[in-house]
């Protein structure tokens, strides 16, 4: 449900700024489309962590974490792999309410489970 709302918000933003989605290149011909794997590699090279890539209204919809650590949903043209629109994903809990009242993770909080005393040092390479 939220995904649809975010997609609409992102595309509405593009349309409101006078730029139709088609003009962004999301209606690219099949032979000009690049693969999801190509987009994934491009983004990971730039420091993104990609959770998933789906097709949405002709664009590639990416859910993940950008290089600054923000959870985002972003839309990319399938031929140029250029960013079309993005929404910061600050309200995970709305989705969680739909799927069982599971709270969003508090990534910056201090651990309180009694096993780990302080936030761990973590790297992904």
């Amino acid at each position: 449900m939220k995904r649809t709302a975010l997609a609409l918000a992102a595309l509405t933003t593009a349309l409101a700024s006078g730029i139709a989605a088609a003009d962004q290149g999301c209606d690219a011909a099949a032979e000009n489309r690049q693969s999801r794997e190509a987009l994934r590699q491009q983004l990971e090279t730039r420091g993104w962590s990609v959770d998933e890539i789906e097709r949405e209204d002709g664009c590639y919809e990416v859910e993940g974490v950008d290089p600054s650590g923000r959870s985002v949903e972003a839309y990319f043209a399938p031929d140029t792999l250029r960013l079309v629109a993005r929404e910061e994903d600050e309200d995970d809990d709305e989705d969680d309410d739909d799927e069982g009242a599971l709270a969003a993770p508090a990534g910056d909080a201090q651990p309180s489970n009694g096993l780990v005393k302080a936030r761990p040092s973590v790297s992904i390479q």
Binding site: E37, R40, E44, S49, V50, D51, E52, I53, E63, G64, V65, G69, S71, D89, D92, D95, D96, D98, E99, G100, L102, A103, A104, P105, A106, G107, D108, A109, Q110, P111, S112, N113, G114, L115, V116, K117, A118, R119, P120, S121, V122, S123, I124, Q125
Partner: protein, 156 residues
Amino acid sequence: MKKFATLLCLGTALALPSLAPAREVTFTTTLKDYRGDGAYLALYLTDPQGRYQGTLWVAGGKSKYYRHLRDWARGSRLQRGEYDGLTGASVGSGRTLRVTVDLADALIDAGYQVRVDTAVEDGRDNRADVVAPLTAGQAGEPVAGRGYVETLSYDL
């Protein structure tokens, strides 16, 4: 009596970790090159029977997917207090996650196991993808996973 003393130490370590001697432990989880979306991982401790004892780290930004980390989800009951402050980004195919935590000394060589559950969008959910005993002797020895995990190892 000795058993009672050991249990008392373990109880203290879990209940009052700030008072227990601790050491830095780095857990290294390397994923296979499965060429899919980023994997969600739960790194956690169990007792020898596999009963959940506590969360070390959860990789994956959307809590709505945490239920796919099935054994961990069951053990933690997905209670926020179990993973608050212990979450981060998912881990890409072929990548290596390193998590360094301070763990109470009493947890080493005490029968505990470190486990990793994994899940990938449009892929499989792997309960206990990899299991390793938490012992000084096991340190530095990689253990092969059976799902998305290539190896898990840790350094004390």
